[in-house]
Structures are given as structure tokens and as C-alpha cells.
């Protein structure tokens, strides 16, 4: 069977493991970004992370580490600006998204002639994930999953009513910063799977599909996780069988799930 054939290849097994980790991590952070009306945050962070990728290419360190550092710094900067209320939330996202991308383009122009395929990072290349990459993705994945599960109800409270959480003495600033750092890590590690240009879709679309079912927050989180995991794995199968780019295939399946959720729940509300 062609589907079983893919398990004979080590690179596909590594791709499936990496995909499964990211399929779990992405919606865990995505649900908080969506309910805080910060869906474009993932896209913004991914565009900014290209600066780190470009720096990695130029100076010869791991581009994922570069992406992690730049997206974390950008996340902290955006959170500080949001708290200062000097700019509207969406203006902050636009500023960092276009600004980050511009800096990356300039940096990459200096790297002209270096033998690096930037398309690997722009569109993802999960089938080239090495064992070393898998260790990085696994460690970073745990780094996101453990605090998110532990602080899940705190993140819920600051997402639903930040003012009340602050009045009742929760360290809201710290929690906001932590959530943004976790979002930055999620973006950096999702990059290899779907690419910088599609990271936002993987983080947001499964959550949007889950919200159509009108369930509790916990059930919405679980549904998001199922949609995301199913889309990543089905996308990898499709990519292998039909020779499609994995990132695009995963996001198209996410969109199909979203369409299906809309149809199933068309009579609700």
C-alpha cells in the first residue's frame, strides 16, 4: 500500500513526528491568540522571524535559533507597545509585520550568492527535518506544552477579562509576556513544517474551525487540537502520495476542515 510505504523512509517518520508535535503545539497557543483578537500575531511573528533566518544564513548559525530569538524579541516589543496603549493593537501588528519583512529582505540581499534555499523557510520543508532538528522541535514543543497546560486557566482569565485578573492580583504583565514568548517559540518551530508564509494559518484556522461548534473553552481547545493534528498528518500523507508541497497541503486541509465545520454548524445561532 502506498500509504504504508511512506513509513519505510526515515525522513517521513521524522516528518510525521515533527508534524505531530507542531500539530499539538500550534492550536494550544492559537486559541488564546484568536480569542484575544490577535489572530494576526502569528503571521507577524513569522514575518519577523525571517530576520533571524536571514541573520542565521549570513552569520552561519542555525536559522531556527535566529528565528526564535527575533520572534521572541518582537513578541516582547509588541506586548510592551500594547500595554502602553500608544498604538492600536492591529497597528502594532502591521508595523512589526511589514517592518520585519523589510529588514529580512534587506539582510537577504546581502546574503546574495550564499547557497541557501530561502524557499525552505518561506514555504516549509518538513521532509528535510534532520534528527538534530527533531530534538530541537521536541524540546521547544515541550517548552510550550508544559507551561501552557499548567497555566491554561490563568491564560483563559487574562484573555477573557484582563482587568479583573489585574484587580484580583494576578501578575497579568508577566502572564502576557509569557504567552507572547510561547507564541514566538511556536512560530519558530512551526516554520519548518508549513513555512513562514503559512505559519499563521496553521495556528489560527484549526481554532476557527473548532469555535464553529459552539462548545466550552476546554472543548474548543480539544477540537482545535484534533483538527490541527488531523490536518498536519493528512497533509503529510497527501504531500507524499500526490507529490505536493507539505505546507500548502496541510493548510489546504485546514481550510477544508473549516469549510466542513461551517457546513455542519450552519444552523447554529
Amino acid at each position: 500500500m502506498p500509504m504504508l510505504e511512506m513509513f519505510r523512509y526515515d525522513f517521513m517518520i521524522r516528518a510525521l513526528i515533527a508534524g505531530a508535535i507542531i500539530g499539538v503545539v500550534a492550536p494550544m497557543i492559537g486559541i488564546f491568540l484568536v480569542v484575544r483578537r490577535y489572530s494576526l500575531m502569528a503571521d507577524t511573528l513569522s514575518h519577523v522571524s525571517l530576520v533571524g533566518v536571514a541573520a542565521g544564513v549570513m552569520f552561519g548559525f542555525n536559522p531556527i535559533v535566529g528565528a526564535l530569538v527575533t520572534s521572541t524579541v518582537a513578541a516582547l516589543g509588541m506586548e510592551r507597545l500594547r500595554e502602553s496603549r500608544k498604538l492600536f493593537g492591529e497597528s502594532i501588528l502591521a508595523l512589526f509585520l511589514s517592518g520585519g519583512f523589510a529588514i529580512a529582505v534587506v539582510l537577504l540581499s546581502f546574503a546574495h550568492g550564499l547557497s541557501v534555499n530561502i524557499f525552505t523557510y518561506l514555504f516549509g520543508s518538513i521532509t528535510t527535518v534532520s534528527t538534530g532538528d527533531l530534538w530541537i522541535i521536541g524540546s521547544l514543543g515541550l517548552l510550550v506544552i508544559v507551561p501552557t497546560v499548567w497555566l491554561f486557566k490563568r491564560f483563559f482569565l487574562i484573555s477573557f477579562d484582563e482587568e479583573l485578573a489585574r484587580a484580583n492580583g494576578l501578575p497579568v504583565t508577566l502572564l502576557n509576556l509569557l504567552l507572547m514568548i510561547l507564541a514566538a517559540i511556536t512560530v519558530a518551530l512551526s516554520m519548518r513544517v508549513v513555512g513562514i508564509l503559512l505559519v499563521g494559518a496553521l495556528i489560527v484556522i484549526p481554532v476557527l474551525s473548532a469555535t464553529q461548534f459552539g462548545q466550552s473553552f476546554m472543548k474548543t481547545a480539544l477540537f482545535s487540537l484534533l483538527f490541527s493534528l488531523a490536518a498536519v498528518l493528512a497533509g503529510l500523507f497527501a504531500s507524499f502520495l500526490l507529490d505536493l508541497p507539505s505546507g500548502g497541503a496541510i493548510v489546504v486541509i485546514c481550510l477544508m476542515f473549516f469549510g466542513l465545520s461551517l457546513v455542519i454548524n450552519r444552523n447554529k445561532k
Partner: protein
């Protein structure tokens, strides 16, 4: 004979947004079991005062004491139950059930790391029962009426087992029947549960019929005491200006 310390004591606070003075020389005390209404015109500083009482804003001078401790060093902030002004638009499509929202009110008591235990779950169940929203616990927030939502927010505050409940304009966007129902609910919380209640409203008639103590606020504290004091023409004029004619309406 020892005199019980006030639950909240406000000492000569002043607050301004830039050059715009909002509150001037405000001093008052709230004792345990009090039922206090704060009235005043829009822009008179009512919401600002509440935000100072719950620690969301800090007065430029003066001090707020909770159980004789300065608010800024008061650790058990969850003892101050706060029901912010309704921002229902923000919560449209937020996928959360009534239970999850009430449960979130218990989180500050658990702090950053502690997992909710049986004692917490008992307090949450009790808060749902007191606010009579047990039957709604599996419903999504955006499927509730304005009055039901307001009870859910009070229930959320009660889940932390507070010493005092502070509500900011709790009747905005609620129809008259639901308002009367909600007033009766607050009165019961005050009388039966012994909960100290402070709320802000611009509905001067209703508020004076409900509360034990009234504070009239228009930048400065113009009067404080029994509700009847607010019905004098002098106070009405100071609060709302010369052109206001007060027509008393029965509740």
C-alpha cells in the same frame, strides 16, 4: 470599647489624567456589612474612584487602606470582588460556558501555580448557587440575557469568597424588570450573606431606595451619609447643575 477598623478607608485621595483633575480630596470609610451607592454625573469620577479602590489606578496623592493595610501592599486582593462595567461586545463569540467563567473568578485565589482543589470547587458551586445561575452553568455566555450575564459576573466575583463586592454601573443595558430583580439579589447578598457592597449608578432615585449609605461624587465628595441627603435641592444642584429638576419616581 474597641471600634472595629473599617473594611476600606480612603484618605484624601487626588487623581488627575494629565492636567484634567478627576478626583479632589476624597475621604470616606466603608464598614463591614455596609451597602453603599455612589452617585454622580457622567465624568464625575465614579468609575475612576472604583478603579482606585480595586487597585487598577493609583491616586497621585492620598491613600487607600484595606483592613488597615495600604492597598498597594495588600496581598489578598481577591478579597475585593470586582464586577467591571459590562463590556458585552468584547465577549461576543468568546467560547466559554458560565461554569468556566465563574471558575475563572477562583483562579486569583489559587495564585499562579496552585491547581484548583475540592475546596475551590465547593466555593465555585456555592457561588453558582448564590447567584442562581447553577441551571445555566453549561450555557455559553453569549446565549444569556443581560440580566443573566450580570448575575454570572457577580457569581464569578463570589467564587473568590470576597469580603466586599464592588460593581461598576451594573444596570447598564438591562431591562427594568431585570434591574429590579438584580437590586433584590444585591440586597439579599448584603442582608443574608453579610457581604459589603459598593456600586456606582447614575440612577439616583433607585439607588437611594436601595442602599444604606450614599456617596455623592462630582470631582469632589459632595455628600455622604443616609440616602435621604441626596434629595435636597442643594445637593442635586451641586451634582447635576442648576437646570436639573428632580422628579421622584417610585421603584
Amino acid at each position: 470599647m474597641s471600634v472595629a477598623p473599617p473594611l476600606i478607608e480612603v484618605r484624601d485621595i487626588n487623581f488627575a489624567f494629565g492636567s484634567n483633575t478627576v478626583l479632589e480630596h476624597i475621604s470616606f470609610r466603608i464598614d463591614r456589612g455596609d451597602y453603599v451607592g455612589i452617585v454622580g454625573p457622567n465624568g464625575g469620577g465614579k468609575t475612576t474612584l472604583l478603579k482606585i479602590l480595586v487597585g487598577l489606578l493609583t491616586a497621585q496623592s492620598g491613600e487607600v487602606l484595606i483592613e488597615n493595610q495600604p492597598l498597594r501592599t495588600f496581598k489578598n486582593r481577591f478579597k475585593i470582588g470586582y464586577v467591571p462595567q459590562r463590556v458585552s461586545q468584547d465577549h461576543i463569540n468568546f467560547p466559554a460556558t458560565v461554569y468556566e467563567i465563574v471558575e475563572s473568578g477562583r483562579i486569583p485565589r489559587a495564585g499562579l501555580w496552585r491547581v484548583l482543589n475540592d475546596q475551590d470547587r465547593t466555593a465555585i458551586s456555592s457561588a453558582l448557587a448564590i447567584a442562581q445561575v447553577e441551571g445555566l452553568k453549561d450555557r455559553l455566555l453569549d446565549r444569556l440575557s443581560g440580566g443573566q450575564r450580570q448575575r454570572v459576573y457577580v457569581s464569578r466575583a463570589l467564587a473568590a469568597e470576597p469580603e466586599i463586592l464592588i460593581l461598576d454601573e451594573p444596570f447598564v443595558g438591562i431591562d427594568v424588570a431585570a434591574q429590579e430583580d438584580f437590586y433584590a439579589f444585591l440586597k439579599e447578598l448584603n442582608q443574608r450573606q453579610g457581604l459589603t457592597i459598593v456600586f456606582v449608578s447614575h440612577d439616583i432615585d433607585v439607588i437611594t431606595e436601595e442602599v444604606k449609605t450614599i456617596l455623592c461624587l462630582n470631582r469632589g465628595l459632595l455628600c455622604s451619609g443616609a440616602p435621604a441627603i441626596v434629595h435636597t435641592p442643594d445637593v442635586i444642584e451641586k451634582l447635576y447643575g442648576k437646570r436639573i429638576t428632580h422628579i421622584h419616581r417610585a421603584h
